[in-house]
Protein backbone atom coordinates (compact mmCIF):
# COMPACT_ATOMS: atom_id res chain seq x y z
CA UNK A 1 0.00 0.00 0.00
CA UNK A 2 2.68 2.57 0.88
CA UNK A 3 4.36 1.63 -2.43
CA UNK A 4 1.16 2.24 -4.36
CA UNK A 5 0.64 5.56 -2.63
CA UNK A 6 4.18 6.60 -3.54
CA UNK A 7 3.60 5.64 -7.15
CA UNK A 8 0.36 7.61 -7.27
CA UNK A 9 2.04 10.60 -5.66
CA UNK A 10 4.92 10.37 -8.13
CA UNK A 11 2.52 10.10 -11.04
CA UNK A 12 0.57 13.10 -9.81
CA UNK A 13 3.79 15.12 -9.40
CA UNK A 14 4.81 14.23 -12.97
CA UNK A 15 1.45 15.29 -14.35
CA UNK A 16 1.62 18.57 -12.43
CA UNK A 17 5.15 19.21 -13.65
CA UNK A 18 4.11 18.47 -17.23
CA UNK A 19 1.14 20.75 -16.84
CA UNK A 20 3.33 23.56 -15.54
CA UNK A 21 5.81 23.09 -18.38
CA UNK A 22 2.97 22.98 -20.89
CA UNK A 23 1.49 26.22 -19.52
CA UNK A 24 4.89 27.86 -19.40
CA UNK A 25 5.63 26.95 -23.00
CA UNK A 26 2.26 27.83 -24.51
CA UNK A 27 0.41 30.18 -22.23
CA UNK A 28 2.85 32.90 -21.20
CA UNK A 29 0.90 36.19 -21.27
CA UNK A 30 2.28 38.24 -24.13
CA UNK A 31 1.34 41.49 -25.81
CA UNK A 32 0.18 41.27 -29.41
CA UNK A 33 2.77 43.79 -30.71
CA UNK A 34 5.01 41.32 -32.61
CA UNK A 35 1.92 39.76 -34.22
CA UNK A 36 0.62 43.25 -35.06
CA UNK A 37 3.84 44.00 -36.93
CA UNK A 38 3.28 40.75 -38.84
CA UNK A 39 -0.32 41.80 -39.48
CA UNK A 40 0.69 45.16 -40.91
CA UNK A 41 3.43 43.73 -43.14
CA UNK A 42 1.33 40.82 -44.38
CA UNK A 43 -1.69 43.05 -44.94
CA UNK A 44 0.37 45.46 -47.00
CA UNK A 45 1.98 42.64 -49.02
CA UNK A 46 -1.35 40.98 -49.77
CA UNK A 47 -2.99 44.30 -50.66
CA UNK A 48 -0.25 45.22 -53.13
CA UNK A 49 0.00 41.71 -54.58
CA UNK A 50 -3.70 41.20 -55.25
CA UNK A 51 -4.18 44.85 -56.12
CA UNK A 52 -1.67 44.44 -58.95
CA UNK A 53 -3.53 41.28 -60.00
CA UNK A 54 -6.73 43.27 -60.68
CA UNK A 55 -6.16 43.59 -64.46
CA UNK A 56 -5.77 39.81 -64.65
CA UNK A 57 -8.74 38.88 -62.48
CA UNK A 58 -10.68 37.09 -65.22
CA UNK A 59 -7.63 35.78 -67.10
CA UNK A 60 -6.23 34.05 -64.03
CA UNK A 61 -9.30 33.21 -61.92
CA UNK A 62 -12.18 33.51 -64.36
CA UNK A 63 -14.13 30.73 -66.00
CA UNK A 64 -12.49 31.08 -69.42
CA UNK A 65 -8.96 32.08 -68.61
CA UNK A 66 -5.69 30.23 -68.40
CA UNK A 67 -7.30 27.61 -66.17
CA UNK A 68 -11.01 27.28 -66.99
CA UNK A 69 -13.23 26.22 -64.12
CA UNK A 70 -14.10 22.89 -65.72
CA UNK A 71 -10.44 22.00 -66.14
CA UNK A 72 -9.61 23.15 -62.62
CA UNK A 73 -12.32 20.97 -61.10
CA UNK A 74 -11.20 18.06 -63.26
CA UNK A 75 -7.57 18.30 -62.16
CA UNK A 76 -8.26 18.96 -58.49
CA UNK A 77 -10.40 15.92 -57.69
CA UNK A 78 -10.44 16.54 -53.94
CA UNK A 79 -13.64 17.71 -52.26
CA UNK A 80 -11.61 19.51 -49.58
CA UNK A 81 -9.99 21.81 -52.11
CA UNK A 82 -12.47 24.64 -51.97
CA UNK A 83 -12.61 28.13 -53.40
CA UNK A 84 -15.36 30.71 -53.47
CA UNK A 85 -14.55 31.17 -57.16
CA UNK A 86 -15.99 27.74 -57.92
CA UNK A 87 -19.42 29.05 -56.95
CA UNK A 88 -19.50 32.33 -58.88
CA UNK A 89 -21.85 32.45 -61.82
CA UNK A 90 -21.70 36.04 -63.11
CA UNK A 91 -18.83 38.47 -63.77
CA UNK A 92 -20.07 41.03 -61.21
CA UNK A 93 -19.52 38.44 -58.49
CA UNK A 94 -15.82 38.23 -59.31
CA UNK A 95 -15.55 42.01 -59.28
CA UNK A 96 -17.55 42.41 -56.07
CA UNK A 97 -15.56 39.71 -54.30
CA UNK A 98 -12.25 41.18 -55.44
CA UNK A 99 -13.29 44.67 -54.36
CA UNK A 100 -14.41 43.51 -50.93
CA UNK A 101 -11.28 41.41 -50.57
CA UNK A 102 -8.97 44.33 -51.36
CA UNK A 103 -10.85 46.59 -48.94
CA UNK A 104 -10.49 43.96 -46.26
CA UNK A 105 -6.77 43.64 -46.99
CA UNK A 106 -6.43 47.40 -46.49
CA UNK A 107 -8.50 47.24 -43.31
CA UNK A 108 -6.43 44.30 -42.08
CA UNK A 109 -3.23 46.27 -42.67
CA UNK A 110 -4.60 49.31 -40.84
CA UNK A 111 -6.19 47.25 -38.09
CA UNK A 112 -9.74 48.45 -38.76
CA UNK A 113 -12.51 46.11 -37.59
CA UNK A 114 -9.77 43.51 -37.42
CA UNK A 115 -11.77 40.69 -35.72
CA UNK A 116 -13.79 40.04 -38.83
CA UNK A 117 -11.81 41.44 -41.79
CA UNK A 118 -8.95 39.06 -41.05
CA UNK A 119 -11.19 36.05 -41.78
CA UNK A 120 -12.21 37.53 -45.13
CA UNK A 121 -8.55 38.01 -46.02
CA UNK A 122 -7.83 34.36 -45.13
CA UNK A 123 -10.83 32.99 -47.05
CA UNK A 124 -10.03 35.25 -49.99
CA UNK A 125 -6.39 34.28 -50.16
CA UNK A 126 -7.15 30.54 -49.91
CA UNK A 127 -9.85 30.95 -52.56
CA UNK A 128 -7.43 32.62 -54.97
CA UNK A 129 -4.77 30.00 -54.33
CA UNK A 130 -7.06 27.00 -54.63
CA UNK A 131 -8.86 28.27 -57.73
CA UNK A 132 -5.67 28.49 -59.77
CA UNK A 133 -2.79 26.43 -58.37
CA UNK A 134 -0.80 27.24 -61.50
CA UNK A 135 -0.06 30.64 -59.99
CA UNK A 136 0.83 29.60 -56.48
CA UNK A 137 4.27 29.05 -55.10
CA UNK A 138 5.94 29.00 -51.69
CA UNK A 139 4.75 32.40 -50.59
CA UNK A 140 1.09 31.51 -50.99
CA UNK A 141 1.55 28.46 -48.83
CA UNK A 142 3.33 30.22 -45.99
CA UNK A 143 0.83 33.06 -46.25
CA UNK A 144 -2.09 30.69 -45.73
CA UNK A 145 -0.49 29.37 -42.57
CA UNK A 146 0.44 32.76 -41.15
CA UNK A 147 -2.97 34.22 -41.97
CA UNK A 148 -4.69 31.35 -40.15
CA UNK A 149 -2.62 31.98 -37.05
CA UNK A 150 -3.35 35.72 -37.23
CA UNK A 151 -7.04 34.92 -37.53
CA UNK A 152 -6.88 32.80 -34.40
CA UNK A 153 -4.86 35.43 -32.53
CA UNK A 154 -6.47 38.51 -30.91
CA UNK A 155 -4.75 40.91 -33.33
CA UNK A 156 -5.93 44.46 -33.79
CA UNK A 157 -5.34 45.31 -30.13
CA UNK A 158 -2.21 47.40 -30.80
CA UNK A 159 -0.70 49.38 -33.68
CA UNK A 160 -4.18 49.55 -35.17
CA UNK A 161 -7.09 51.86 -35.85
CA UNK A 162 -9.13 49.63 -33.55
CA UNK A 163 -6.76 50.59 -30.76
CA UNK A 164 -6.94 54.27 -31.76
CA UNK A 165 -10.72 54.06 -31.60
CA UNK A 166 -10.67 52.48 -28.15
CA UNK A 167 -8.14 54.98 -26.76
CA UNK A 168 -10.03 57.91 -28.25
CA UNK A 169 -13.26 56.70 -26.71
CA UNK A 170 -11.58 56.54 -23.29
CA UNK A 171 -9.92 59.95 -23.68
CA UNK A 172 -13.12 61.65 -24.77
CA UNK A 173 -14.40 60.91 -21.28
CA UNK A 174 -11.11 61.72 -19.55
CA UNK A 175 -8.09 63.04 -21.44
CA UNK A 176 -5.76 61.68 -18.78
CA UNK A 177 -7.18 58.17 -19.13
CA UNK A 178 -4.85 55.43 -20.31
CA UNK A 179 -5.76 52.09 -21.77
CA UNK A 180 -3.35 49.40 -20.62
CA UNK A 181 -1.60 47.44 -23.39
CA UNK A 182 -3.41 44.21 -24.21
CA UNK A 183 -1.73 41.02 -23.12
CA UNK A 184 -3.07 37.49 -22.86
CA UNK A 185 -2.00 33.85 -22.59
CA UNK A 186 -3.83 33.09 -25.86
CA UNK A 187 -1.61 35.64 -27.61
CA UNK A 188 1.34 33.73 -26.22
CA UNK A 189 -0.04 30.49 -27.66
CA UNK A 190 -0.62 32.01 -31.11
CA UNK A 191 2.85 33.53 -31.12
CA UNK A 192 4.24 30.08 -30.33
CA UNK A 193 2.28 28.55 -33.21
CA UNK A 194 3.80 31.06 -35.60
CA UNK A 195 7.26 30.40 -34.18
CA UNK A 196 6.81 26.65 -34.59
CA UNK A 197 5.62 27.16 -38.18
CA UNK A 198 8.72 29.19 -39.05
CA UNK A 199 11.05 26.69 -37.33
CA UNK A 200 9.44 23.71 -39.11
CA UNK A 201 9.61 25.56 -42.42
CA UNK A 202 13.32 26.27 -42.08
CA UNK A 203 14.12 22.76 -40.86
CA UNK A 204 12.27 21.10 -43.74
CA UNK A 205 13.74 23.51 -46.24
CA UNK A 206 17.26 22.74 -45.03
CA UNK A 207 16.72 18.98 -44.90
CA UNK A 208 15.27 18.95 -48.43
CA UNK A 209 18.25 20.93 -49.71
CA UNK A 210 20.72 18.51 -48.12
CA UNK A 211 19.26 15.75 -50.29
CA UNK A 212 20.59 17.47 -53.42
CA UNK A 213 24.10 17.50 -54.89
CA UNK A 214 23.82 21.19 -55.89
CA UNK A 215 23.69 22.21 -52.24
CA UNK A 216 26.24 19.67 -50.97
CA UNK A 217 28.85 20.74 -53.49
CA UNK A 218 28.19 24.44 -53.02
CA UNK A 219 26.92 25.12 -56.55
CA UNK A 220 23.23 25.73 -55.89
CA UNK A 221 23.34 29.54 -55.92
CA UNK A 222 25.15 29.47 -59.28
CA UNK A 223 22.47 27.29 -60.86
CA UNK A 224 19.70 29.40 -59.36
CA UNK A 225 21.03 32.46 -61.16
CA UNK A 226 21.66 30.68 -64.45
CA UNK A 227 17.99 29.74 -64.45
CA UNK A 228 16.16 31.70 -67.13
CA UNK A 229 13.72 33.22 -64.64
CA UNK A 230 16.53 34.75 -62.57
CA UNK A 231 19.21 35.23 -65.19
CA UNK A 232 21.14 38.46 -64.56
CA UNK A 233 24.25 38.82 -66.76
CA UNK A 234 25.91 41.36 -64.48
CA UNK A 235 25.58 39.16 -61.41
CA UNK A 236 26.63 36.04 -63.29
CA UNK A 237 29.80 37.76 -64.48
CA UNK A 238 30.74 38.57 -60.89
CA UNK A 239 29.92 35.07 -59.65
CA UNK A 240 31.72 33.40 -62.53
CA UNK A 241 34.91 35.34 -61.91
CA UNK A 242 34.66 35.00 -58.10
CA UNK A 243 33.14 31.56 -57.74
CA UNK A 244 34.00 31.41 -54.06
CA UNK A 245 31.05 33.81 -53.59
CA UNK A 246 28.76 31.09 -54.90
CA UNK A 247 30.12 28.57 -52.41
CA UNK A 248 29.85 31.05 -49.54
CA UNK A 249 26.30 32.01 -50.47
CA UNK A 250 25.23 28.38 -50.86
CA UNK A 251 26.70 27.18 -47.57
CA UNK A 252 25.60 30.31 -45.72
CA UNK A 253 22.03 29.68 -46.86
CA UNK A 254 22.27 26.13 -45.56
CA UNK A 255 23.85 27.26 -42.31
CA UNK A 256 21.15 29.83 -41.60
CA UNK A 257 18.35 27.41 -42.47
CA UNK A 258 19.84 24.64 -40.33
CA UNK A 259 20.70 26.88 -37.39
CA UNK A 260 17.35 28.63 -37.30
CA UNK A 261 15.11 25.85 -35.91
CA UNK A 262 17.55 25.09 -33.10
CA UNK A 263 19.17 28.38 -32.12
CA UNK A 264 16.23 30.76 -32.59
CA UNK A 265 14.76 29.66 -29.26
CA UNK A 266 17.81 30.59 -27.14
CA UNK A 267 17.93 34.04 -25.58
CA UNK A 268 21.63 34.50 -26.39
CA UNK A 269 21.50 33.40 -30.03
CA UNK A 270 18.07 34.65 -31.11
CA UNK A 271 19.18 38.16 -32.17
CA UNK A 272 21.93 36.76 -34.40
CA UNK A 273 19.84 34.02 -35.98
CA UNK A 274 17.02 36.48 -36.58
CA UNK A 275 19.43 38.93 -38.19
CA UNK A 276 20.79 36.16 -40.40
CA UNK A 277 17.33 35.03 -41.47
CA UNK A 278 16.17 38.57 -42.25
CA UNK A 279 19.42 39.18 -44.17
CA UNK A 280 18.78 36.00 -46.16
CA UNK A 281 15.32 37.18 -47.15
CA UNK A 282 16.53 40.66 -47.99
CA UNK A 283 18.94 38.99 -50.41
CA UNK A 284 16.04 37.06 -51.92
CA UNK A 285 14.11 40.30 -52.29
CA UNK A 286 16.89 42.18 -54.05
CA UNK A 287 18.90 39.58 -55.96
CA UNK A 288 16.09 37.18 -56.78
CA UNK A 289 13.38 39.83 -57.24
CA UNK A 290 11.07 38.21 -54.68
CA UNK A 291 9.92 41.13 -52.52
CA UNK A 292 6.50 39.56 -51.88
CA UNK A 293 7.93 36.27 -50.65
CA UNK A 294 10.61 38.02 -48.59
CA UNK A 295 8.14 40.41 -46.97
CA UNK A 296 5.87 37.57 -45.90
CA UNK A 297 8.77 35.53 -44.55
CA UNK A 298 10.22 38.48 -42.63
CA UNK A 299 6.79 39.06 -41.10
CA UNK A 300 6.80 35.45 -39.96
CA UNK A 301 10.15 36.11 -38.27
CA UNK A 302 8.49 38.94 -36.32
CA UNK A 303 6.95 36.29 -34.07
CA UNK A 304 10.42 35.89 -32.56
CA UNK A 305 10.81 39.59 -31.78
CA UNK A 306 10.72 39.99 -28.01
CA UNK A 307 8.26 42.59 -26.69
CA UNK A 308 11.04 43.96 -24.46
CA UNK A 309 13.10 44.82 -27.58
CA UNK A 310 10.18 46.84 -28.90
CA UNK A 311 9.74 48.48 -25.51
CA UNK A 312 13.44 49.41 -25.46
CA UNK A 313 13.17 50.78 -29.00
CA UNK A 314 10.16 52.85 -28.00
CA UNK A 315 11.92 54.18 -24.94
CA UNK A 316 15.05 55.00 -26.95
CA UNK A 317 12.90 56.97 -29.35
CA UNK A 318 11.18 58.83 -26.52
CA UNK A 319 14.54 59.66 -24.94
CA UNK A 320 15.86 60.90 -28.27
CA UNK A 321 12.85 63.13 -28.98
CA UNK A 322 12.36 64.32 -25.41
CA UNK A 323 9.19 65.32 -23.63
CA UNK A 324 6.66 67.53 -25.40
CA UNK A 325 3.77 69.30 -23.75
CA UNK A 326 0.63 70.37 -25.55
CA UNK A 327 -1.33 73.16 -23.93
CA UNK A 328 -4.98 73.35 -24.91
CA UNK A 329 -8.22 75.05 -23.95
CA UNK A 330 -10.13 72.71 -21.66
CA UNK A 331 -13.30 74.81 -21.97
CA UNK A 332 -13.47 74.19 -25.68
CA UNK A 333 -15.22 70.90 -26.38
CA UNK A 334 -13.90 70.79 -29.95
CA UNK A 335 -10.35 71.26 -28.65
CA UNK A 336 -10.76 68.47 -26.13
CA UNK A 337 -12.09 66.14 -28.80
CA UNK A 338 -9.19 67.03 -31.09
CA UNK A 339 -6.74 66.33 -28.28
CA UNK A 340 -8.38 62.96 -27.66
CA UNK A 341 -7.92 62.06 -31.32
CA UNK A 342 -4.29 63.20 -31.39
CA UNK A 343 -3.42 61.40 -28.17
CA UNK A 344 -5.10 58.24 -29.45
CA UNK A 345 -2.32 58.01 -32.04
CA UNK A 346 0.40 58.64 -29.47
CA UNK A 347 0.98 55.03 -28.49
CA UNK A 348 4.34 55.77 -26.87
CA UNK A 349 2.89 58.49 -24.64
CA UNK A 350 5.31 61.15 -25.87
CA UNK A 351 2.91 64.07 -25.58
CA UNK A 352 1.93 65.40 -22.17
CA UNK A 353 -1.11 67.65 -21.97
CA UNK A 354 -2.00 70.74 -19.95
CA UNK A 355 -5.35 72.52 -19.75
CA UNK A 356 -4.34 76.16 -19.35
CA UNK A 357 -7.73 76.97 -17.80
CA UNK A 358 -7.03 74.86 -14.74
CA UNK A 359 -3.25 74.65 -14.86
CA UNK A 360 -1.68 77.80 -16.36
CA UNK A 361 1.56 77.36 -18.24
CA UNK A 362 4.73 79.04 -16.98
CA UNK A 363 6.00 79.25 -20.58
CA UNK A 364 3.03 80.51 -22.60
CA UNK A 365 0.64 83.23 -21.46
CA UNK A 366 -3.12 82.75 -21.28
CA UNK A 367 -3.57 85.52 -23.81
CA UNK A 368 -1.55 83.60 -26.37
CA UNK A 369 -3.35 80.38 -25.51
CA UNK A 370 -6.73 81.99 -26.09
CA UNK A 371 -5.74 82.30 -29.75
CA UNK A 372 -4.09 78.93 -30.42
CA UNK A 373 -2.97 75.69 -28.94
CA UNK A 374 0.73 75.59 -28.06
CA UNK A 375 3.40 72.91 -27.99
CA UNK A 376 6.29 73.31 -25.56
CA UNK A 377 9.37 71.55 -26.90
CA UNK A 378 11.97 69.80 -24.73
CA UNK A 379 14.25 72.85 -25.12
CA UNK A 380 11.53 75.09 -23.66
CA UNK A 381 10.57 76.80 -26.92
CA UNK A 382 6.87 77.06 -27.67
CA UNK A 383 5.26 76.49 -31.06
CA UNK A 384 1.75 77.72 -31.84
CA UNK A 385 -1.11 76.11 -33.71
CA UNK A 386 -0.24 74.62 -37.06
CA UNK A 387 3.50 74.58 -36.27
CA UNK A 388 2.76 72.63 -33.09
CA UNK A 389 0.89 69.92 -34.99
CA UNK A 390 3.58 69.92 -37.68
CA UNK A 391 6.31 69.42 -35.10
CA UNK A 392 4.45 66.58 -33.40
CA UNK A 393 3.55 64.79 -36.65
CA UNK A 394 7.22 64.19 -37.42
CA UNK A 395 8.15 63.04 -33.93
CA UNK A 396 5.29 60.76 -32.90
CA UNK A 397 5.39 57.48 -34.90
CA UNK A 398 1.61 57.08 -34.75
CA UNK A 399 1.24 60.39 -36.58
CA UNK A 400 3.74 59.76 -39.35
CA UNK A 401 0.88 59.12 -41.76
CA UNK A 402 0.21 62.88 -41.53
CA UNK A 403 3.70 63.84 -42.71
CA UNK A 404 2.67 64.11 -46.40
CA UNK A 405 0.10 66.76 -45.40
CA UNK A 406 2.35 68.76 -43.12
CA UNK A 407 5.61 68.65 -45.03
CA UNK A 408 4.82 69.47 -48.63
CA UNK A 409 7.28 72.34 -49.30
CA UNK A 410 5.60 75.74 -49.28
CA UNK A 411 2.09 74.36 -49.83
CA UNK A 412 1.62 72.82 -46.38
CA UNK A 413 2.35 76.07 -44.54
CA UNK A 414 0.55 78.16 -47.17
CA UNK A 415 -2.68 76.24 -46.59
CA UNK A 416 -2.09 74.93 -43.09
CA UNK A 417 -1.78 78.27 -41.29
CA UNK A 418 -5.02 79.82 -42.58
CA UNK A 419 -6.94 76.56 -42.02
CA UNK A 420 -5.70 76.30 -38.44
CA UNK A 421 -6.30 79.99 -37.76
CA UNK A 422 -9.87 79.70 -39.01
CA UNK A 423 -10.53 76.63 -36.84
CA UNK A 424 -8.99 78.31 -33.80
CA UNK A 425 -11.04 81.46 -34.32
CA UNK A 426 -14.26 79.46 -34.71
CA UNK A 427 -13.70 76.76 -32.18
CA UNK A 428 -16.57 77.86 -29.98
CA UNK A 429 -18.93 77.69 -32.92
CA UNK A 430 -17.54 74.27 -33.90
CA UNK A 431 -18.07 73.05 -30.34
CA UNK A 432 -21.65 74.35 -30.32
CA UNK A 433 -22.33 72.61 -33.64
CA UNK A 434 -21.85 69.34 -31.82
CA UNK A 435 -18.33 68.80 -33.07
CA UNK A 436 -17.20 68.24 -29.52
CA UNK A 437 -18.12 66.26 -26.47
CA UNK A 438 -19.27 67.81 -23.18
CA UNK A 439 -16.46 69.11 -20.98
CA UNK A 440 -14.76 66.07 -19.52
CA UNK A 441 -14.16 65.65 -15.83
CA UNK A 442 -10.39 65.96 -15.60
CA UNK A 443 -8.68 64.17 -12.80
Amino acid sequence: MPGEVAVVRFGRACVCALGRTWSQFWFQPRPTTPLEIARIGIGMAVLVHYGLATPYLFDFWGDNGWLPRALALETIDDPWTQSLFFYFTAPWQWIAFHGVFLLCCAAFMLGWRTPWVKWIVLVGHVSFAQRNPMLTYGVDKILASLLLILCLAPVGRALSLDRVRAVRAAKRIDLAATLPPFSSPWTGACTRLMQIQMAVLFLCSAVEKLRGDDWWYGDAVWFIFTNDELHTPFLLNILASQYWLVNVATYLTLLIELAYPFLIWQRATRPYVLTGAIFLHLMFATLMRMPYFSTVMIMGHMSFVRPEWLARLGQAWKDKIGEMEMIYDGRCAFCVRSMALLLAFDGLGQVKIRDFRTDPSPVVSDTQLEKALYLVRPDGRALPGFEAYRHVALRVPGLWWQIPFFYVPVLSRLLGHPIYDWIAANRSRLSAMGMGSPRPSLK
Binding site: S205, E208, I224, T226, L236, Y292
Partner: protein, 175 residues
Protein backbone atom coordinates in the same frame (compact mmCIF):
# COMPACT_ATOMS: atom_id res chain seq x y z
CA UNK B 1 -24.62 24.00 -15.20
CA UNK B 2 -20.84 23.52 -15.14
CA UNK B 3 -19.07 25.31 -12.32
CA UNK B 4 -16.46 27.93 -13.15
CA UNK B 5 -13.33 25.91 -12.24
CA UNK B 6 -14.57 22.95 -14.27
CA UNK B 7 -15.45 25.27 -17.16
CA UNK B 8 -12.00 26.86 -17.09
CA UNK B 9 -10.40 23.43 -16.97
CA UNK B 10 -12.46 22.29 -19.93
CA UNK B 11 -11.54 25.38 -21.95
CA UNK B 12 -7.88 24.81 -21.11
CA UNK B 13 -8.07 21.19 -22.30
CA UNK B 14 -9.93 22.07 -25.50
CA UNK B 15 -7.46 24.83 -26.37
CA UNK B 16 -4.52 22.59 -25.56
CA UNK B 17 -5.98 19.86 -27.77
CA UNK B 18 -6.30 22.32 -30.63
CA UNK B 19 -2.69 23.42 -30.17
CA UNK B 20 -1.56 19.81 -30.33
CA UNK B 21 -3.72 19.23 -33.41
CA UNK B 22 -2.42 22.28 -35.27
CA UNK B 23 1.21 21.63 -34.33
CA UNK B 24 0.83 18.07 -35.55
CA UNK B 25 -0.57 19.43 -38.81
CA UNK B 26 2.42 21.77 -39.22
CA UNK B 27 4.85 18.92 -38.65
CA UNK B 28 3.05 16.20 -40.64
CA UNK B 29 2.38 18.36 -43.71
CA UNK B 30 5.98 18.44 -44.96
CA UNK B 31 6.84 14.92 -43.74
CA UNK B 32 7.82 12.43 -46.46
CA UNK B 33 5.01 10.28 -47.82
CA UNK B 34 7.15 7.17 -47.41
CA UNK B 35 6.81 7.35 -43.64
CA UNK B 36 4.04 5.02 -42.42
CA UNK B 37 3.34 7.17 -39.36
CA UNK B 38 3.20 10.37 -41.40
CA UNK B 39 0.96 8.73 -43.99
CA UNK B 40 -1.48 7.55 -41.31
CA UNK B 41 -1.55 10.95 -39.62
CA UNK B 42 -1.92 12.67 -42.95
CA UNK B 43 -5.10 10.67 -43.67
CA UNK B 44 -6.61 12.07 -40.47
CA UNK B 45 -5.31 15.60 -41.02
CA UNK B 46 -6.04 15.71 -44.75
CA UNK B 47 -9.32 17.69 -44.62
CA UNK B 48 -7.82 20.27 -42.25
CA UNK B 49 -4.59 20.60 -44.26
CA UNK B 50 -6.32 20.81 -47.63
CA UNK B 51 -9.17 23.13 -46.72
CA UNK B 52 -6.83 25.69 -45.19
CA UNK B 53 -4.01 25.20 -47.73
CA UNK B 54 -1.57 23.99 -45.10
CA UNK B 55 -0.35 20.91 -46.97
CA UNK B 56 3.10 22.12 -48.01
CA UNK B 57 6.52 20.61 -48.40
CA UNK B 58 8.74 23.70 -48.02
CA UNK B 59 11.09 22.35 -50.71
CA UNK B 60 12.29 25.69 -52.07
CA UNK B 61 14.91 25.07 -54.78
CA UNK B 62 15.33 21.63 -53.29
CA UNK B 63 16.68 19.04 -53.44
CA UNK B 64 18.44 20.62 -56.42
CA UNK B 65 18.32 24.16 -57.74
CA UNK B 66 16.76 23.09 -61.00
CA UNK B 67 17.98 24.00 -64.43
CA UNK B 68 15.02 25.98 -65.66
CA UNK B 69 13.26 26.05 -68.96
CA UNK B 70 11.69 28.48 -71.36
CA UNK B 71 8.44 28.08 -73.21
CA UNK B 72 8.37 29.25 -76.80
CA UNK B 73 5.61 29.07 -79.35
CA UNK B 74 4.90 29.59 -83.00
CA UNK B 75 1.57 30.96 -84.16
CA UNK B 76 0.38 29.66 -87.53
CA UNK B 77 -1.93 32.10 -89.20
CA UNK B 78 -4.62 31.51 -91.81
CA UNK B 79 -2.13 32.26 -94.64
CA UNK B 80 0.27 29.61 -93.40
CA UNK B 81 2.79 32.14 -92.09
CA UNK B 82 4.54 31.18 -88.86
CA UNK B 83 5.21 33.81 -86.21
CA UNK B 84 7.68 32.94 -83.46
CA UNK B 85 7.39 34.21 -79.92
CA UNK B 86 9.41 33.97 -76.73
CA UNK B 87 6.77 35.02 -74.21
CA UNK B 88 9.08 35.44 -71.22
CA UNK B 89 11.07 38.06 -73.13
CA UNK B 90 8.05 40.38 -72.93
CA UNK B 91 7.79 40.14 -69.18
CA UNK B 92 8.96 43.06 -67.09
CA UNK B 93 11.03 42.09 -64.08
CA UNK B 94 9.57 44.95 -62.07
CA UNK B 95 6.00 43.73 -61.91
CA UNK B 96 4.76 40.62 -60.02
CA UNK B 97 2.89 39.62 -63.19
CA UNK B 98 6.22 38.26 -64.40
CA UNK B 99 6.08 35.53 -61.79
CA UNK B 100 2.46 34.66 -62.60
CA UNK B 101 3.05 34.31 -66.32
CA UNK B 102 6.30 32.35 -65.86
CA UNK B 103 4.41 30.00 -63.58
CA UNK B 104 1.63 29.55 -66.15
CA UNK B 105 4.14 28.83 -68.90
CA UNK B 106 5.96 26.35 -66.63
CA UNK B 107 2.77 24.43 -65.97
CA UNK B 108 1.91 24.34 -69.67
CA UNK B 109 5.42 23.15 -70.51
CA UNK B 110 5.31 20.45 -67.81
CA UNK B 111 1.84 19.17 -68.71
CA UNK B 112 0.87 20.29 -72.21
CA UNK B 113 -1.68 17.52 -72.47
CA UNK B 114 -3.65 18.94 -69.55
CA UNK B 115 -3.09 22.70 -69.71
CA UNK B 116 -2.08 23.16 -73.34
CA UNK B 117 -5.57 23.63 -74.78
CA UNK B 118 -6.56 26.39 -72.38
CA UNK B 119 -3.16 28.04 -72.72
CA UNK B 120 -3.31 27.98 -76.51
CA UNK B 121 -6.84 29.41 -76.40
CA UNK B 122 -5.47 32.39 -74.45
CA UNK B 123 -2.55 32.78 -76.85
CA UNK B 124 -4.88 32.68 -79.85
CA UNK B 125 -6.97 35.40 -78.22
CA UNK B 126 -3.84 37.44 -77.52
CA UNK B 127 -2.72 37.21 -81.16
CA UNK B 128 -6.20 37.52 -82.67
CA UNK B 129 -4.93 40.18 -85.08
CA UNK B 130 -2.83 37.51 -86.80
CA UNK B 131 -5.92 35.37 -87.45
CA UNK B 132 -4.24 32.35 -85.84
CA UNK B 133 -5.15 28.83 -86.78
CA UNK B 134 -2.89 26.89 -84.45
CA UNK B 135 -0.02 27.26 -82.01
CA UNK B 136 3.03 25.02 -81.86
CA UNK B 137 4.52 24.81 -78.38
CA UNK B 138 8.18 24.16 -77.68
CA UNK B 139 10.04 23.91 -74.43
CA UNK B 140 13.74 24.67 -74.05
CA UNK B 141 15.10 22.69 -71.10
CA UNK B 142 18.30 24.13 -69.73
CA UNK B 143 21.39 21.99 -69.21
CA UNK B 144 24.31 22.74 -66.92
CA UNK B 145 25.89 26.11 -67.59
CA UNK B 146 29.22 26.63 -65.87
CA UNK B 147 31.25 29.69 -64.92
CA UNK B 148 33.71 29.10 -67.75
CA UNK B 149 30.82 29.24 -70.20
CA UNK B 150 29.77 32.60 -68.77
CA UNK B 151 33.32 33.94 -68.90
CA UNK B 152 33.56 32.78 -72.53
CA UNK B 153 30.63 35.00 -73.41
CA UNK B 154 28.03 32.27 -73.71
CA UNK B 155 24.37 32.51 -72.61
CA UNK B 156 22.47 29.81 -70.65
CA UNK B 157 19.90 29.60 -73.46
CA UNK B 158 22.44 29.15 -76.28
CA UNK B 159 21.62 26.03 -78.34
CA UNK B 160 24.49 24.00 -76.86
CA UNK B 161 23.08 24.45 -73.36
CA UNK B 162 19.45 23.56 -74.03
CA UNK B 163 17.41 20.60 -75.13
CA UNK B 164 14.51 21.51 -77.34
CA UNK B 165 11.35 19.56 -76.66
CA UNK B 166 8.39 19.66 -79.01
CA UNK B 167 5.17 19.95 -77.00
CA UNK B 168 2.86 19.61 -79.94
CA UNK B 169 0.63 21.59 -82.25
CA UNK B 170 -2.69 22.68 -80.80
CA UNK B 171 -5.42 24.19 -82.94
CA UNK B 172 -7.02 27.45 -81.90
CA UNK B 173 -10.58 26.98 -80.65
CA UNK B 174 -13.27 27.80 -83.15
CA UNK B 175 -15.00 31.11 -82.48
Amino acid sequence: MISKPWREGLVYIVISAFLVWHTLALVVAPAPDTSVIAASLRRVLHPYLTLLKLDNKWDFYAPNAGRGHQLRYVVEDADGIRHSFRPTDDLSRIYPSEWWFRSLYDWIADSPGIYGDAGVAMLCRKHAALRPVAVVLTDLEQKNFWPDDQLNGKHPLDPEFVTEKDLGRIACPEK
